[in-house]
Amino acid sequence: MLRVDSLDVAYGEIRALKGVGLEVGRGEIVTILGNNGAGKTTTLKTISGLLRPLRGTITLEADPLVGVPPHEIVRRGVAHVPEGRRIFNRLTVRENLMMGAYRRTDGGIAADLERVFTLFPRLKERRTQVAGTLSGGEQQMLAIARALMANPRLLLLDEPSMGLAPVLVEQIFHAIADINGQGMTILLVEQNAAMALSIAHRGYVLETGSVALAGTAAELSGNADVRRAYLGE
């Protein structure tokens, strides 16, 4: 579904990605692991159009994405849950969700609203509440739900576990696995490698802007370097 080839991205003089390539097949959860500053967020931002690569190609079902503005990429079926959630604090929960569906003209918005409320019943209880007053876990749920409202083909998730208590991390990952179970293709960036590998089919390890390792979740979980560097052994 998504194919990224020899991607180079820089912030001014700082080279953040050097020749990154990866692939995500339909229906898969693919995870990108890596330490702070490895370039995970940069990769997602480039896919969703927030950053322009110096070099390289990105295609969504053979459709080139490089140079397409972010608001247009959303319309083509890529929804990005950014690092730090970035929900609209001054909007209500419901308004946030409606913003997720901003570009849609099909009749499925009401049904999708029900769908995300079923996935995250807490959001339904709080739909008239201003989003800035939600707890951290609820904000993460809202960020994911808001992306789902775009009815995407591909969901990009940037560190959904960030800053959450372990029990909430469990809950969020459960929801992600659920969403995937309903057919959604997911590219998941995580520092919590154990959690990510527990639900992913495949994964890539980024090190200082390059792919250092790639394989199935089982292969990566069994790899000695991965175990040492990312699984704390």
Partner: protein, 323 residues
Amino acid sequence: MDYPLLLGIFPQVLLDGIILGFMYALIALGYTMVYGVLEFINFAHSEIFIVGAFVGVEILLSLRSAGVLDTLPWPLVLLFVLVAGMAISGALAVTVERIAYRPLRTAPRLIPLISAIGVSFFLQDLIRLVESIWRNAFNLVYPTMDQLNYRFELTETIDVPVKSLVVIAAALAMLWVLHVIVNRTTIGTAIRAVAEDQAAASLMGIDVNRIISLTFLIGGAMGGAAGVLFGVQYGLINPYSGFIPGLKAFTAAVLGGIGNIPGAMLGGLVLGLLEAFAASYLSLLTAGAFGAEYKDIFAFSILILILIFRPKGLLGEVVRGRA
């Protein structure tokens, strides 16, 4: 002290203050909406406002020279003039943003500000040039419409001209429409989303540049409407007439909390009332020591005090989220 006089003029002063306040509120919206989405002060807004007044006077003068100004129904004429002023001021604001601000979006903050001041001077002198070629005039007087000048005499000291009621009604209607657009529609929600976080908004599929243009369009249109109402109410305009009301409206926006839409409305009303009361009562209360010409000093002193004790304005500055 002449208490009956002080009391007697009170309703009149209150009315003047409210009219002035709505005028400031309408203009202030342009400053505050643009600030809300871009954290940028559009100093050319005072000229966008006065262009509305010029559009109005040109249409009214043309109608008068065609001899139809007093035969056409006045509500229709006024509505047409308002819509035309809004359309042209709105389009001008959008154009100015495209040409003079958008290319500087990523430049240091001072640069677009200087550009805005430049646009302000440019527009002032452009209006002056056009009017001196076209009419060979500097000051223009709004043609009067008889029905609009009819006055309801309430008491000996108080009378209310129809035009003042019309100005208040039009301003109220516009503020209400704006409120509905911003708070109850999808596009309004998108404006608020862009104001909070442009990158996140673009990830929702919102075309941020279009929303920014829309913000200039709405703010400019409100300014244009204020320009027409200003002309109808006060009668005399020249190419530099926008500057002082613009500055005061900007002050009103800061007073209410810059970036905050209800704040701009409140700030405008407060400033208008302060100014009207200062203008009428200062000399009476100080036995002539301070005349009406001190009204601005008085109004701005109170403003400074409010800002010292409530630096974010009456309703609070809207602080933008992560950019």
